[in-house]
């Protein structure tokens, strides 16, 4: 299957099952809203009846913020004005890039881990419906959740290894090489190279995880033979190295394109009235929906690509009851 066809079919499926995107979005929204309510209450309490409320509403009030941040507790400690505009994306992207996702404030970390776990469940549902294996979203999610969890935990270990062992080695290497640099530009190039290399590895693991999940659904690989799933995925990638990479990159381009557009239109903090505040919130929320949809497009296009004719190699074929085969 051609990359574009996979994307096209994937997009159709994503659109067809759009209600599940809104379901995911709803969970994301509620999780974040619960935390944001705490922060809003803390901000409100710290403002009291002060006129600072007025300057904060009109723009930002740094004098207020100095006092607020000095006394903030709980998740409110993490509030800082750089969440305005594209900062809301860059702050997270920067931490993800450097593998600092696990060093969050506990309140954020637990929500993020719960969301991660939830996605192990949801991705099973999505791949089930995108694979059109005659199971409903929730039946599929239920059926494959534990298998996906095992796969995700396995991949998680590799991610942790990459961030906590490989990245520091690369850091050290770059540091040694650049020890006597008195020009910033070559160090910038080395740093770009460092992260390209690291994220090349991470994306490879991510592809492997995606196709392992897809293989698990396609051949209903049982839990006890789950190790065959990455083997099948690896075999698949070996068969279609360029097309699978092309598909991944194409999806990645969409992701960056969406971020670029949001960057252009993201309001920075100049809004003053309830109507405009609400409008800014809506723009941000639409972007979240688009992000979730694009994540689904990754799954959908990869699933369509995997399901389109690739046959399981003999050695990777799991010993399953043929009656249980759910290949469409």
């Amino acid at each position: 299957m051609k990359v574009f066809k996979a994307i096209k079919e994937g997009a159709q499926l994503v659109y067809g099952y759009r209600r599940y995107i809104f379901l995911v979005y709803g969970i994301n929204f509620l999780l974040a809203l619960a935390l944001a309510s705490i922060v809003a209450a803390d901000i409100e309490a710290s403002l009291g009846n002060s006129l600072s409320a007025e300057s904060l509403r009109r723009g930002f009030d740094n004098l207020w913020y100095q006092g607020f941040s000095a006394g903030a507790q709980g998740v409110s400690e993490t509030f800082d004005p750089s969440v305005a505009g594209i900062g809301a994306v860059f702050n997270g992207l920067d931490e993800m890039l450097q593998g600092k996702m696990l060093s969050q404030h506990p309140g954020i970390l637990w929500s993020a881990l719960s969301y991660w776990l939830l996605w192990c469940f949801l991705s099973a549902g999505f791949i089930t419906i995108y694979g059109q294996v005659k199971l409903s979203f929730f039946r599929g999610a239920e059926k494959f959740f534990l298998r996906f969890l095992i796969l995700s935990l396995g991949a998680g270990l590799i991610y942790i290894l990459l961030f906590s062992a490989v990245l520091p080695l690369m850091d050290q290497f770059v540091e040694q090489i650049s020890r006597d640099f008195i020009d910033e530009r070559p160090l910038f190039l080395y740093t770009v190279g460092k992260y390209l290399l690291l994220w090349g590895m991470i994306c490879f693991v991510s592809m492997l995880l995606d196709y392992s999940k897809i293989a698990t659904v396609r051949w209903n690989i049982p839990r006890k033979s789950i190790h065959l799933a990455p083997r099948a995925a690896l075999d698949f990638l070996r068969h279609y190295p360029f097309r699978s990479l092309g598909l991944y990159l194409m999806n990645g381009v969409f992701w960056f394109l969406a971020m670029g557009i949001y960057w252009l239109i993201a309001p920075g903090g100049g809004e003053r009235w309830w109507v405009s505040i609400f409008f800014v919130i809506i723009i941000g929320q639409i972007y979240i929906v688009i992000r979730i949809a694009l994540k689904c497009l990754f799954y959908a296009s990869e699933t369509r690509f995997f399901f389109s004719g690739y046959e399981i190699p003999e050695q990777a074929r799991p010993a399953t009851n043929p009656a249980e085969q759910t290949v469409s």
Binding site: N49, G87, I277
Partner: protein
């Protein structure tokens, strides 16, 4: 001079030395000794060995005793010895004890040794080799591992008005950069680099501190310095280059000369691009600006020049015209740790390869360091004890320029290991006290050192707050209280009185009192001599309709019962507002009360009591109360509690920002989902 006379002077000197009263060092004497511009004069010949990364040098020092007491010793700073070992007082100081030394190998440490010293023969002294008499001393902390102060005992004291001439050779190992000096690749920056004589105070004591955590203090003098570096390398230094000689060994000797300065720093590297421009302004003397730019910052040329010109223009107009006629701006090399530092007629800025205007780099650091040419270079306070007198004055003045010339500051943040900056143009930070309150520590409940405590003794976190932020806010408060016109006169008079000299805090306070015609002692007692914090706020506010009288009233002859509510007279409101003093420190306050009919009442309050109540019965409701509405007291640590309004927009404000934070969380969740 006859031997009898010499003995007589010697004995007289010893008498003064032993029994001399400190009263001799009265302020009038300090002020009368105006010959301050040529006390410590250096003629140096320095050769840079780029292979060994060493300096080989000779110094001829003439030092004049301008105090009223003789001295039987001389003391010298050997700053480079601060990085001779890891037990030095510098590397164990509160400020620098956490320096990451893991990156410093054997070749990256430093030392400085005087290999021979001679007193030159003249009418007072016979030529004398004194090297064996030299000894390291540790006057501040007794730390035997610290070799940053060297003492030369003298057989014959230097009497008031006399000059002693020394000649010494010395060698120095250049470190990987520590505290703005050292070498990285082919970039050398030399600061606090040569054996330097301390300051003999008017009281007769040597002020020659070990190198601990502060900056510097020296007398003014003339510097005539020959610097030999590889031919073709660009060189920048204090002073003007007056002679250049190419040597047969592929080196070039550059001779720099400068009078009336109290330090000398220099830099050399083959990579600098040199750009010259002239500062000209109608009422100020012209200044030749020389910019040494690193290749990754060539696009910052205009911004460096503009910032330097702004400092020369505004400081020159407000305080005193820059007198030297030339200034060298060094764009420091990446990783060289030499950025953001001032030396006479020569300073380092600092920027990054990517640094849009909103980041204010290099503007902020350039104006600051150029500004130090005035507060430090000319009005040369003792930075060991009173770091705030140059840093605080400079931060205050620098922010004045920013408010005059530049748009409001905005938030900026760096991503991707600091390479990629992002400017949040919609998030404006403070205008009134921009930057001065950047330390959250200023809000710390833990009371820090009083500003009056000597800087070299400051405890954890106190140096930054006490040297920079708090004094800047103190001066801003003074400006607000006295008015700019008066305060500008104060600063100009202070400058005029103390240029080429070493003022102490009391000298500044005296000028404030003198020029303003007010005794501001009460303010300095709070802001300078104590560690008290200022915090005024609005307490409980209420404004209720006054109900008609309920109870027994007299009706002609009878006493009758009056039930509430049958009075048709005009509705009045009884309004009460409490303002409170939460901090220990006291400052007079203005209280502004606004009523629903638009009427505004301003009240004065001494600010002395812990609280004060304002009560009004008026036909309109009290809707807003502000204590210090114009933010005169810039030192108030919590300005949020300074106002009360009946209907604050706090829900909209809170959700506006909480929803942005929420979006960040939502994205965090999605980033986490990538790994699932």
């Amino acid at each position: 001079m006859g031997i009898i006379k010499q003995i007589y002077i010697y004995m007289l000197g010893m008498l003064i030395l032993l029994g001399g009263s400190l009263d001799a060092a009265s302020d009038s004497l300090r002020m009368s000794l105006r010959d301050e511009r040529a006390i410590s004069n250096y003629t140096m010949d320095v050769r840079l060995d780029t292979k060994k990364k060493m300096l080989f040098a000779t110094t001829q020092l003439s030092w004049k005793n301008t105090t009223s007491l003789p001295t039987a010793e001389l003391r010298f700073h050997l700053y480079y010895n601060a990085w001779r070992n890891d037990k030095s007082s510098y590397l164990t100081s509160v400020r620098y004890r956490n320096t990451d030394l893991s990156k410093y190998g054997k070749d990256d440490w430093a030392w400085c040794e005087i290999t021979s010293m001679r007193i030159q023969a003249d009418s007072f002294y016979t030529g004398l080799e004194v090297t064996p008499a030299l000894e390291y001393i540790q006057p501040n902390d007794g730390n035997i591992h610290d070799r940053t102060v060297l003492r030369l005992p003298l057989r014959r004291p230097v009497f008031p008005g006399e000059t002693i001439r020394l000649e010494f050779t010395w060698e120095e190992k250049i470190p990987r950069p520590f505290n703005r000096t050292g070498v990285i690749s082919d970039y050398y920056f030399f600061a606090q680099w040569f054996p330097k004589i301390g300051v003999l105070e008017y009281e007769g004591d040597w002020n020659c501190h070990q190198y601990i955590q502060t900056e510097y203090y020296s007398n003014f003098g003339t510097y005539d310095v020959k610097l030999t570096v590889p031919t073709g390398w660009v060189i920048g230094a204090t002073g003007r280059e007056i002679e250049t000689v190419d040597n047969p060994d592929s080196t070039t000797t550059h001779r720099f000369y400068q009078e009336a300065v109290h330090d000398f720093a220099w830099t050399t590297s083959p990579y600098f691009k040199v750009i010259n421009r002239r500062f000209e302004s109608a009422n100020l003397p012209p200044v030749d600006m020389r910019l040494l730019l690193m290749p990754d910052h060539l696009d910052k040329e205009e911004r460096y020049f503009q910032s330097t010109a702004n400092a020369l223009l505004y400081y020159g107009t407000w305080f005193f015209p820059y007198p030297y006629g030339h200034i060298t701006i060094v764009d420091p090399a990446f990783q060289s740790k030499s950025g953001g530092m001032e030396y006479p007629t020569f300073f380092t800025g600092g920027t990054r390869w990517l640094s849009p205007v909103g980041t204010r780099q290099p503007e902020s650091v350039t104006i600051h360091e150029a500004g130090h040419q005035f507060w430090y270079g000319l009005v040369a306070n003792n930075e060991f004890e009173h770091a705030w007198m140059d840093e605080g004055f400079n931060v205050y003045s620098q922010h004045r320029i920013f408010r005059h010339y530049y748009p409001r500051p905005v938030l900026s943040k760096r991503y991707f290991e600091g390479f990629l900056p992002l400017v949040f143009s919609a998030v404006k930070t403070n205008n009134r006290t921009d930057g001065s309150d950047r330390y959250r520590g200023f809000y710390s409940a833990l009371k820090r050192d009083a500003m009056a405590r000597p800087s070299w003794e400051h405890g954890p976190g106190a140096y930054g707050v006490n040297a920079y932020n708090q004094p800047a806010l103190m001066l801003q408060t003074l400006e607000n209280y006295l008015g700019w016109e008066t305060f500008q006169q104060v600063l100009a008079a202070y400058f005029q009185q103390w240029k080429y000299n070493h003022p102490r805090p009391e000298d500044f306070f005296a000028v404030v009192n003198d020029i303003s015609g007010q005794d501001m002692g009460w303010f300095f007692d709070e802001a300078y001599y104590s560690s008290n914090i200022f915090d005024y706020g609005v307490g409980k506010v209420s404004s209720k309709k006054v109900r008609p009288l309920k109870g027994y009233v007299e009706d002609q002859e009878n006493i009758i019962w009056n039930e509430q509510g049958d009075d048709n007279s005009e509705t009045n409101y009884l309004s009460r507002a409490y303002v409170r003093r939460w901090g220990e420190a006291i400052f007079p306050m203005t209280v502004r009360l606004t009523f629903s009919d638009g009427e505004v009442i301003e009240e004065k309050w001494s600010g002395k009591e812990r609280w004060k109540e304002f009560t009004y019965t008026r036909p309109a409701e009290l809707v807003q109360v502000e204590v210090d509405p114009n933010h005169q007291l810039a030192l108030d640590v919590n300005y949020t509690n300074n106002s009360w309004t009946k209907s604050p927009e706090k829900k909209a404000a809170a959700w506006k920002w909480a929803s942005k934070w929420m979006l960040w969380v939502q994205h965090m969740l999605e980033f986490m989902a990538f790994f699932s």
